[in-house]
Structures are given as C-alpha cells and as structure tokens.
Symmetry: C2
Subunit: 401 residues, 2 copies
C-alpha cells in the first residue's frame, strides 16, 4: 500500500490524497462501503461499483464465524470471494468485543447519546453478555449457535490474513465513551500491547507469503484528551523489527459533540504521511468534521441500514418514505440526484414497494443512500482540491436539517 497527499487544507488538518493497493486506488477522502458478511446488503458488486464506491470493508468477526476465514481463503480471498473488483478492508473484531460485552443489550452505536451512555455499566464477565475480555484476548459466544470462541491479537491477524483484505486492523478493545477514566486507561494500555502483538504476528505471517497487507493500528482513549494523545503517540512510534504501522484507525464510540475534538487531538499527532481511517462514522455532518480534522477514510452501516428501512438522505435532511404524503408524490427521492433510484423511480413507487414488502424497496433505498454518502465525500474531496471546502461545508450545513 502506498499513500500520497495531493493537497492539504489551509488552517485545518484535512487533505486530499490517494491510497494505492494491489487491487486498485482509493481517492481520499473516501467513504468505504460496509459489507459486513462479505456482501453489501441488498446490492450486487456491480451496483456498488456503479454507485461510485471504491472500496469495501468487511467484518472479521462475522466472516470468521460464517463461512469461516479458511473457506474465504480457499475461494481466493475476500476480493474474489465476493466478486469485488477493488480494494478491501477488514476490521479487527474489536468493536464486536465492545458490542457483545460492555454494551450488550444496549443500543450503543458509534455515536452515543446521553441516554445510552447513562446506562453504561462495566461488567467484566459473562453475566448476560456474549464476550469476556482478559489480557491475553477475548472469549466470546457465537451469535449464530452459542458456541465458544476466542480471539487474540495473533488469531485476529491469522484470520485477517486468511480473509486477505488489502488493509487490515490490529486487534483492539473498543470502549464506551462513558467508561470511567480508570477503565479507559486499562483498555487503552491493553490495546497498545495488543497492537504490538498484532504487528509482531503480522510480520511473521506476511513475510513468508510475500503478500503485503497494510496493517493499521487503532487509536483509543475515550473522551480524555491526554489518553487520546498518548494513544496516538504510542501507536505512531510503535516499531517491531524496524517496521511501523502502515496507517491508523481511530476507534471508540463517541459522544456526538466530542467526535471532532477527539479526532483532532489524534490527527495532530499521527504522522502526516500515513492514512487515517475513522471507524464507524458516516453521517453527513460528521463526514465534514472528520475530513476537516484529518481523516482520510470512513465506514459506516448507516447508509445501507437506513436505506433498507425507508429512511433516505437528501440535501435537506432525512426523508421517511412511510410518511403518507409520499404515496402520491411523483417526484424522485431527491431532485437532480443522479443515482439509479432517482433517475428511474418516484417516491410514490418506492413508498409502494416498502408498503408491499417488496425487496426492491430496500435495494433502491440502499442505492440512493450509498450514492448520497459516497458522492458527498467525493464532493468534499473536490472542494479540498479546489480550495473551497469551508464554503461547501457552510452551504451543506445550512440546508441539511
């Protein structure tokens, strides 16, 4: 993997660049489409590609359980397995550790609200949870059949090597933004030890095969400025046998107003010449803040999840297709949108598909939302190249409610 900066923003951390992988290039900033189980939900790779998406991120935890990383390897790796003709990422499984463990049963997403956070408890055992963390790794139960499994930094690397994505992540522990400072320190230090073990394991596996996967470390530290900065410094400097990380992920679940600040703390420290991925963030306004504060790539399930459920992005905010006023609306989801759904179908038709439980509804909704988000980030990129990011941001924020 190579990364090259094309243009930097004046007075902010944002930049436009290019990530080159052996499976193709990603022009950054870029939104990476999520294909959790090796499929972008409800879409063919052909449709994903025609939306303008350049890369796909799949989930290590899910593919390990089903169909198994060995099976994906036999199929020629993730790229060939899912017939995706472009770069791929796999996450480390760290977020699942969080969502199955401390956050189990709570609706904690990557951006938490005050109410969700208030519920936070730090139960470090299996009592009602599906994951238990210790210093060596994580023991968890399969969401499919309850069978017990174990992830360690070494096994995460082995699994991600089998999956064969172009960009992979060190095994980390994702925490709630409301976890107490004491626990954040403990988890961060564990994440750093796991990062070192991940890098060591990765060097062991990648050298003999000759296949070069890029390995990104994941910065943690919760809401605490000193911890976020420490995590960035430690991981930026971390070196095993002369090799450092190829790039960085910024992890953790964020309180909405903290996200941009936390990202800035981190990116001011991370080396400029390596790409930075903001894990699990993809709401329109957050993308502007993430880019402005120095992130290059983003992934998020929101565009497809919302699209499948009849909630569509427009430049004026979200549109809920089940609203009865759309039953007779013969205009597209968004005027002048060039996506397949808007070029061909009316709100009235799409509202009908959702009411009639036709699978084409979720497909058209996912196409529109992904097109909206992927192309929003492309336009942000363009605004950096044309030196009018701030103007574009102000204009977008003024209309998006």
């Amino acid at each position: 993997m190579e990364y090259k900066i094309e243009k930097k923003m004046e007075g902010a951390l944002g930049r436009a660049g290019v990530i080159k992988t052996s499976n193709g290039e990603i022009e950054t900033p870029a939104f990476i489409v999520v294909g959790t189980k090796g499929s972008v939900k409800s879409l063919t790779p052909e449709q994903v590609s025609s939306i303008g998406a350049e890369a796909v991120l799949a989930n290590t935890y899910h593919l390990y359980l089903e169909p198994g990383d060995e099976q994906v390897k036999k199929a020629g790796g993730l790229n060939k397995f899912m017939a995706w003709n472009g770069p791929t990422f796999t996450d480390s499984g760290g977020f699942q550790v969080f969502s199955l463990g401390a956050a189990m049963g709570k609706s904690v997403g990557k951006i938490a609200t005050g109410e969700e956070i208030a519920e936070y408890t730090d139960e470090g055992n299996f009592g009602g949870k599906l994951a238990q963390i210790d210093d060596e790794g994580v023991t968890f139960k399969s969401f499919i059949n309850g069978s017990e499994h174990r992830f360690t930094p070494e096994s995460s690397m082995k699994i991600q090597e089998n999956l064969g994505a172009d960009i992979i992540f060190a095994f980390d522990e994702c925490t709630s933004p409301m976890a107490p400072r004491e626990y954040q320190i403990e988890a961060m230090n564990r994440t750093h030890r796991w990062a070192k073990r991940s890098l060591t394991a990765h060097l062991d596996v990648r050298r003999p095969s000759g296949y070069q996967q890029a390995l990104f470390a994941v910065v943690q530290g919760g809401r605490f400025e000193d911890l976020r900065k420490e995590s960035a410094r430690v991981l930026a400097d971390l070196e095993v046998n002369g090799t450092k990380f190829d790039g960085f992920g910024i992890g953790g679940s964020f309180v909405k107003e903290d996200m941009a600040t936390a990202v800035k703390w981190v990116n001011e420290i991370l080396p400029e010449d390596k790409p930075r991925h903001l894990l699990g963030i993809g709401e329109p306004l957050d993308l502007f803040l993430g880019v402005e504060n120095g992130c290059d790539t983003f992934d998020c399930v929101a565009p497809t999840r919302l699209g499948r459920n009849g909630c569509f992005y427009t430049k004026n905010g979200r549109l809920i297709i089940s609203n009865s006023k759309y039953r007779e609306d013969l205009t597209p989801i968004e005027e002048n949108c060039a996506c397949y759904s808007c070029r061909n179908f009316t709100k009235s038709y799409i509202a009908h598909l959702f009411r009639a439980n036709e699978m084409l509804g979720p497909t058209l909704g996912s196409i529109h939302n992904l097109y909206f988000i992927v192309n929003l980030v492309k336009k942000i990129r363009q605004s950096i190249l044309e030196e009018n990011f701030e103007e574009y941001k102000q204009q977008f924020f003024a209309s998006y409610k």
Copy 2:
C-alpha cells in the same frame, strides 16, 4: 398489438412469431417475467432487462389493492410506474378469485398434484374463505386489511385500463381441475358471459381514449375435452360490434399429466393468427410441452419464488443450495451459464449468502433462475426456426431430472 408468425413446426402446433406492442416487441415463444405488485421480486428493471426478459406481467388484484389502479394511472401507467422499458401484461384477477375462494388455505398451484386435488371442496360461501362468486362478479376481502371489495368484468376492465398494460385479460373464473363436471360447466359458462361483458366494457373504454390495449379472453373448462373445446370455440367466435378478442389465455389449474393434452385441445381450435398465453405455467419440461402444443407466451412465479428460496434450475434438474456439500464448492451454480450470478459467484459464496440471510442470495438466485427460464424459451424458439425442436427437446429431457 400485432402478431406475426415467422415459422410453424411440422406435425405439431408450435410456432415462432413476434408480438408487436407500442412498448416494444416480444419474440415468441417467450417467457413473461412476473412482477405481481409492479416489481419483479428482488430485481431492478435493469437486472430484469439484462437477463434477456422482454415483457413483464403484473397482477390486477394486487395493484388494485395497493397502491391502487388510480395511483398507477397518475404515475403514467404500469410501464412508467415500475420503470419497465418494454411490453407489459396484467392478468384479470380470476386466478386470485380461485386461490382466495375454493382453493383458500390449500397449496394449490397452477399444476396440482393428486394430494392437493383430493382436498378439493366446492364451498361457495365466505366460510373461512376470502372470496365469494356470484353471476355478477366476485366479492372478496383484502389480504391486507380485510376490507370488502368487488370485482366485476366491468370493474376489472376499468382497473386494467387504469393500469395501462399492453395486453390485458378478460375477467374469468379459474377452477380446480378436480371441481365436478357440473361446476366446471357452470364456471365456464359464467367465464363466457364475463368475457362478453369484458369485451363490451373494453370497447367502451378504449375507443374514446384512443389507446389500444390488446384484450385476451381466458379459455376454461377444466379436465374435460368437450368443455375445453367448447370454451375455445365460444371465445374464438365471440364478437361485440364487429370486434373479437385480440388473443387468448389458457387458464385453469392443471393436473400435471393433463396440461399438454388440454392445451392441445384448445389450440387446435383457437385461430392460428392470434397469440396464445398459457397462464401460470413455467417449469422447464412444461414449457416444451406448452410450445409444442401451440402456446406463444408463458408466465409463472416459480423461477423467482424458487430462486429466492435457494432452489436453482440447472440442465440436470433442480439444485438445493442449502445442501452442505455446496459450502466448499468453488464452481458456479451451472458451468457455462452466462448469467450474472454464474459469471461472478461460486456455489460456496451463494450458499454463504443464504445461510447468512443476506438479501443478495435471493437476488442472485432469482437472476439465475429467470435467466435459465427466459433463455430456455429463447432456445426453444431458435430450435423451431432451425427446425430441430424435437432433437433439442429430447436432449433436454434426457438430462433434466
């Protein structure tokens, strides 16, 4: 609508021809893809078109209930509503009268097995059923909310005019093949009276608008040779103000071994210069029999329904993707198949999609099955043009188990 025969088979009723509509041509024999609610399940019109499908058949009953035929009319008609750039058909609602009435709660398809037939009862009331037939029309309850509605030949024509398909069907009563002779006679005569009322109503509505929809009558008569022949004769000759039907549907639910025979009885009588549609039939072997015995077009939900449920057509018969042996099978559903699914994906991947409940599984299965059936009928057409139908049929029957 125009119909032109290009080539007739020697010693059989089959023929190759072309149906011309104002929305494009259909080269016959042809399989018409079913889009019950104005959507071919799980596929975009672009995907349906790339499969090679030339026309779509939608359901009058379903579209009347949701989103309403007036709404489809406002959208510019079925073709524009669903963004289908080709000819369209709507059925009359007659089959729903059967499936909601006499066949309610039984798994009676278009081809019945002995067991299903043994359960037949002729209950002409609402006791547990959703439809009640009288001489004027049918009263039925909505499957959506239980509200009561009424179809008559006149209202079916009005609804189908609003839907605006190129080819529409006279309102008929579909019967079980096991209904007693007495009831078959009663239902057939009612179908004939309704055909006349449909033609009368259609002349009233189509002349002022100037838009010419082709109206097909539906031949009934169950398993009885004399009744099938009588129905064909009556409908072939039926004339209102100098206008006859533009084509014919062959309706009813068939006992498997009767289908070809019944179709032959009918097509020997129907005028040669008008197209004949075999309603609800689409299994591979039945398509050969239907073509050979003089049918030009076919529709059936089986390819998409089976495809959505992981059951795929191959030249050697059906393949059930949930079979554990396919988990590691890195070959396509069918070697040398040129469909999008087989060109890009392995059985192993598609098996994974179905196990993981990924919507892409049903989509890829539907693409393969529709491609298989649509192109099977295209190959049958080609064999008629090249005068080797019998050879092609023997070869196909020998391998398809």
